[in-house]
Amino acid sequence: GLGLSACGGSSTSGNSSSDSGSSSDKKRIVYVINGTLGDKSFFDSGHEGMEKIADQYGDQYETDTREMGYDTSVWESTALDIASEGWDIMIMGTFDMVEYADEIATQYPDTKIWFFDESWDFNTYPHDNIYGMLFAQNQGSYLVGMAAAYATKTKKVAFMGGMQNKVLQDFFVGYKQGVAAVDPSVEVVDDWTQSFSDSTIGHDHARALYQQGYDIVFSCCSSCGLGAFDAAVEMGDGYYVIGVDGNQGEYWASQGDTAKAAHTLTSMQKNVNNTFLDAAGEELKGTLPYGTVVTYGLDKGGVSYSVTDTTKEVLTEEQLAAIDQAQQDIIDGKIQVDTTF
């Protein structure tokens, strides 16, 4: 296994304390991305959160965002190196980073880590400087699944994921359950593109789904999934994409791309930005519950489904009301949504 000497750690952590001492009383917080920005998805959303923190608590926080790229072999070194700069808080996430966060938490007990998008296992990695943030994408997916079931004319809807990782399967099980809740006769197919980056592949898979009669595609594969919007526009009336992570309908509208906005039924929003902002607020109050995992579901606004003009056009008010009712039922625990976590 891997072991790290105390000497490397101690000398750098010595540095860090002097660093943080000199730079006034602001808390230094860094968002470490194991990938790059520009995914129009949760990395970007997190970055937005950092900007919100800087906006709202600019006098109390000093923020930075670091991208580690997609070469997995450098993530550990990079994360440790960033940790050695002596941050008060590091935000990082996904299953890939669990073991590295564990190392950092051990080596730099003064640094706090907010760990998102994976359920931190405090039994295996007991750290009191870690705060776990989990998004209940299954809950949000349940709601957009309902929307899909209402909107489909063909009684066939699709889920398009990149690869079958745990988070995406969590999306899928929620989505499937949501569809079935409205109409069990609606067929749900899952399609895995094997890519998170190539938009042409997303485009081709989505188009194939549409052409086979699946008129709603829940596109969950980062940049690859962008292609689905183009496919829907190409196909014309009656074909819709359900966006993910951000409010993609709104995004297209803001870009002036009305065609794509008009083909975006709704989006399963994963509000990483707000979650970061909330956590930053609680941190200041000293109420952030380190040592626990908090699930940001529909109740905390961690996930939500978006309602745009298109949504209102396609779905009736009763249907929207039914979705809202389901949302309340999930929050109240009356509906249990399947999960892979």
Binding site: V189, H203, L226
Partner: protein, 330 residues
């Protein structure tokens, strides 16, 4: 099993499927024609991948900043031509092995396009913030109304028509024109060509520039037709596929059409078959396996033909193919 067969039957009786086959074939066809013409001049152009990605990127930038996709198309073509020139310069004048030039250009292409995308647009994965637009699609009134066929060929991009038109054009160029004659003679026996004052380098350069232009068109198709934006790594290995398709097509334009269509067919099938119940990862290998199998079948055929040729050429100068054949028969 019958379920599987029914699904498959459903796919094959769907005219939209063939529409997809034709449209996914386009960039591969263009790149394959590009590889083929270079190969005819005796230069293996492994750089279509890099040319395509750079042309796709600069085309979008050109289109976005001038507001005209047509100018974008022109930029893509010019970028392709310039890359062709650059490859020619390094391979012919500075004497770099042309396969290595290809590898280098592909490295530069993928790196530079991603790098500049961020620098110029601030986007990291796709230039969705630019409004570069798409080239128009064409529907020929009479044809579009034919039931099955109409669906397949109507609404194909203007570039798709150009690509399919490029097949006879390239055939004409190679077999009926002065330049074509020179290209083939330079590819087959450069010494012979140069001994009668045909500049080998200039002829190869012309072939490589044409090859680059075709790669540029392929790139333009990706970012200004297939999708309305540039996305990182969107060439997706099509340049390598093109190389395979060329090898299988024996470097003829018509053959290139057949082999790129083969890939397009299996690729389209792989995007369709989420409903087939085969693991998606394995389905994704379909086009590559098909290409590999096609390559082997082609190679077996060539082997057979070569045997014949070997006899025909008798005791004269042995061609390169023959030497190789001799050598590996040990």
């Amino acid at each position: 099993m019958s379920d599987f067969a029914a699904t498959l039957g459903g796919i094959f009786s769907n005219p939209n499927f063939y529409f997809t086959v034709l449209s996914t074939t386009v960039p591969i066809l263009l790149a394959t024609l590009g590889c083929a013409i270079a190969e005819n001049a005796g230069s293996t152009n492994m750089a279509e991948e890099g040319i395509m990605i750079l042309a796709a990127f600069f085309g979008v930038i050109g289109a976005a900043y001038t507001g005209s996709v047509w100018i974008g198309l022109l930029v893509a073509v010019v970028v392709g031509a310039v890359m062709g020139l650059m490859i020619a310069y390094f391979a012919l004048y500075l004497k770099v092995d042309i396969i290595l030039v290809g590898i280098a250009v592909n490295l530069i292409g993928s790196g530079l396009s991603a790098f500049l995308m961020y620098v110029i647009t601030g986007d990291r994965s796709a230039t969705t913030s630019l409004h570069s637009g798409t080239l128009p699609t064409i529907s020929i009134p009479g044809l579009s109304d034919i039931p099955f066929i109409g669906t397949i060929i109507s609404n194909q991009s203007v570039l798709a028509w150009i690509a399919y038109l490029a097949i006879p054009v390239m055939s004409f160029l190679l077999y009926k024109t002065k330049l074509g004659l020179r290209i083939r003679s330079v590819g087959e026996n450069p010494d012979a060509a140069s001994s009668v004052g045909v500049s080998v380098n200039r002829t190869k350069m012309a072939a490589l520039v044409i090859s680059g232009i075709l790669g540029g068109l392929a790139g333009a198709y990706l970012s200004m037709s297939y999708l309305p934006y540039f996305s990182k790594g969107m060439s997706g290995g099509r340049g390598y596929i093109a190389l395979a398709a060329t090898a299988m097509a024996n470097n003829t334009p018509v053959g290139s059409f057949g082999t790129s269509l083969l890939f397009g067919f299996f690729y389209a099938l792989s995007t369709y078959s989420s409903t087939l119940g085969i693991p998606d990862q394995l389905v994704t290998t379909l086009p590559y396996v098909a290409t590999l199998v096609g390559l082997v079948i082609f190679a077996i055929n060539v082997q057979r033909k070569e045997r014949k040729m070997l006899h025909e050429s008798g005791g004269g100068h042995s061609s390169k193919a023959q030497q190789v054949a001799d050598a590996s028969e040990a």
